[in-house]
């Protein structure tokens, strides 16, 4: 029987509740967004006692389904003021699922300010249920997560960790929830939307999870599950993008730097150009070549979490062969690289490492730094000052706190009108003026500007699931389809990157649906994918509406309508009616 673990941080108590019938088929984003919708007052302060932090592994997480070690984290976002789901891969999600816990709900707030606690979650074999202890965590506060994670692993043994860094402790709107990677690094993030601050506002520093002895995930139909798992595995092993030594395994996600640059859609110097002259130096190919030179051998990428076939996570090494950071992803390299005019992987690596050390979202931090550069606080391309400013963020100095408040707030404080945000959340690494469909997703997503809520880049740039013209303006249906399918994948427990394979290989997509049926005992068909996604989005939109948002928030920043973007010299020219048609038409 699946359970919900409800933790009250006001008095450090907990209850284990049977999963309500109405949540029987929900997990991952579907469940976090439903609980936020059902239990959180949309008008509450995101950092007050009435917000709740929800963590839920996906439907197939904890099983042998490939590339499925994902967890969704949800709450009302302090960054956007709306609903938020951010997800991450880690060993934490399968461990949680194996305990039969479908969701953790963290609620309440301690009266004592500046006290931090850990939840130590273990499996009580005798009682046959999870057990929670509350332990003081004050000695880990204010510290670099790269120092703290090894201490926790030494103290508790083979555990998984969910937690926050100084960014979450200081209630920065830019603060993520961090999870351990496969080697125990503090490097896998449910990064976006300030969820670390929600956790911090509850005085919760870590959830330390030891799943030893836990029974594992029950399968309603093992045969069907295995059939689905096989189909998906075959699709992932076969597709050029996801197969071993394919594009993602060889070059990592940053293989996209050159392609977006060629397409004129790589946001550069705070979204003032679609091309960066230093792109080749920070591309995935440069990561591969640079490591080869420094290590004297070819290095392929590794899994961020157990059971992943795609294995896209890289490590960047210093000239002396020691590790600088894992992982330099496309978004992170872009945010601190092209978008800040910095063309050095050593510099982007150090900036990313500091984000991991402090508990920050790399996208939001890089776009914030670019806004600071535009304001004249530092020059574009000045990596040394950027690193110095990052340390201010880590120390919590006044300038550090401003930068930690995110791109929109920093732009207001520094008087920068070119603020690339929707609903207060900064845009990721695709220029919407040059790639119209992803711009429609940024505008209409319930999450604020977020490429992972509808990755239309597949057909618009990559030629996955066919090829459409990146400048075509009639994409309301395309955006809607991707938004819905993604809400389903985010609920399934699979990494979104399975989409590269299953959009091209239909049997792979069938396999995902069969896996879900095999776990839940449902009879879903491919038609249910859109329905389920639609239902998740409807709850998220209802929450945002009740929180005070409207279709007027589904809009792009004004500067994109006024300023033309080189090299294509295009503006944001999608009519508001087309944006409204994404959900209304």
């Amino acid at each position: 029987m699946a359970t919900i673990l409800r933790i009250n941080m006001a008095d450090r108590t907990y209850t284990l509740e049977d999963l309500p019938e109405k949540y029987k088929y929900l997990a991952g984003r579907g469940l976090t967004s439903t609980i936020v919708h059902d239990e959180v007052d949309p008008l509450c302060h995101p950092l007050g006692p009435n917000n709740k932090l929800i963590l839920s592994p996906g439907i197939v997480t904890g099983t042998s389904a490939p590339t499925s070690a994902r967890i969704s984290v949800g709450a009302k976002s302090p960054l956007t003021g709306g609903i938020k789901e951010a997800n991450s891969g880690s060993g934490f999600p399968p461990s949680l699922a194996k305990m039969g816990i479908r969701a953790i709900i963290v609620e309440g707030q301690p009266e004592e300010k500046d006290e931090f606690w850990m939840v130590y979650l273990t499996w009580d074999g005798e009682a046959g249920r999870p057990k929670v202890e509350f332990l003081p965590a004050d000695k880990y506060v204010g510290k670099n997560l790269y120092k703290v994670f090894p201490k926790l692993l030494k103290r508790f043994g083979q555990v998984n960790i969910a937690g926050i860094g100084v960014a979450g402790e200081n209630l920065y709107n830019n603060s993520g929830v961090v999870f351990d990677d496969i080697q125990g690094r503090p490097s896998r993030y449910a990064g976006r939307g300030g969820l670390g601050a929600v956790m911090g506002s509850k005085g919760l520093k870590f959830i330390v999870l030891d799943a030893k002895g836990a029974p594992g995930v029950e399968l309603a139909n093992k045969e069907l599950f295995n059939q689905g798992r096989k189909k998906l595995t075959e699709a992932l092993m076969q597709h050029d993008i996801t197969k071993p030594k394919g594009a993602l395994n060889s070059y990592g996600t940053a293989v996209l730097i050159n392609i977006l640059n060629e397409a004129g859609g790589l946001p550069t110097r705070n979204f003032s150009s679609g091309r960066f002259e230093g792109a080749a130096k920070i591309a995935g190919e440069a990561v591969f070549e640079g490591n080869k030179e420094r290590l004297g051998k070819e290095l392929y990428n590794h899994a961020c979490s157990p059971g992943c076939i795609i294995q896209c996570s890289n490590t960047w090494y210093n000239p002396d062969g020691t590790e600088l950071v894992s992982c330099q992803e496309y978004e992170s390299i872009w945010a601190f690289g092209a978008n800040c005019g910095i063309d050095s992987l050593d510099a982007t690596g150090e900036l990313i490492r500091l984000c991991n050390a402090y508990g920050l979202d790399t996208i939001e931090m890089g776009t914030t730094m670019a806004v600071a550069m535009e304001s004249g606080l530092l020059e574009f391309g000045d990596a040394d000052t950027a690193i110095a400013l990052m340390r201010e963020v880590g120390k919590g100095t006044p300038v550090g706190r401003i930068l930690g408040a995110g791109t929109a707030t920093t732009a207001k404080v520094l008087g920068v009108t070119r603020a690339p945000v929707v609903k207060g959340q900064a845009m990721p690494a695709y220029e919407p003026r040059a790639v119209k469909g992803i711009g429609m997703v940024y505008a209409t997503s319930t999450m604020g500007a977020d490429h992972t809520s509808g990755y239309t880049i597949c057909p618009e740039i990559l030629g996955v699931s066919g090829k459409v013209d990146q400048f075509d303006r009639d994409k309301a249906a395309l955006a809607r389809g991707f938004l819905e399918a993604t809400a389903f994948i985010d609920s399934s427990g699979h990494c979104l990157f399975i989409a590269f394979a299953i959009l091209d290989i239909a049997s792979g997509f069938e396999g995902v649906v069969e896996e879900c049926n095999g776990v839940l005992g449902t009879n879903w068909t491919m038609d249910d994918v859109g329905r389920i996604g639609k239902e998740v989005l409807a709850k998220e939109r209802a929450f945002n509406l009740a929180a005070g948002m409207s279709n007027k928030d589904d809009r792009m920043p004004e500067f994109m309508k006024i300023e033309t973007l080189p090299p294509h010299n295009v503006t944001w020219d999608i009519p508001d009616e087309t944006l409204d048609a994404v959900f209304g038409g």
Binding site: T253, N258, I457
Partner: protein, 80 residues
């Protein structure tokens, strides 16, 4: 004859070893040559050519090239 400036990325770089990442090299082609002609002249396996950008615009194999065109050629890639 026309001269175009080609760039090979990711796994296609092995077909012109010794160039730095993103480095363009000149290729002479007969007048009226297409992207497909360029791909064949460079000896690239067609099933590994997924995306071609000519002067920053996505183009198919039948697209006619002009003197001075910049052509970026990619295998299947993905990320995010």
């Amino acid at each position: 004859m026309i001269t175009v400036h080609a760039k090979l990325f990711a796994t296609l770089r092995q077909y012109r070893p010794g160039l730095s990442i993103g480095e363009a090299f000149p290729v002479e082609l007969p007048d009226g040559a297409t992207v497909g002609d360029l791909v064949r002249q460079l000896g690239l396996p067609e099933d590994q050519v997924k995306l071609v950008f000519v002067n920053a615009l996505f183009r198919g194999l039948d697209h006619p090239l002009a003197d001075g065109d910049e052509v970026g050629i990619f295998p299947p890639v993905g990320g995010g």
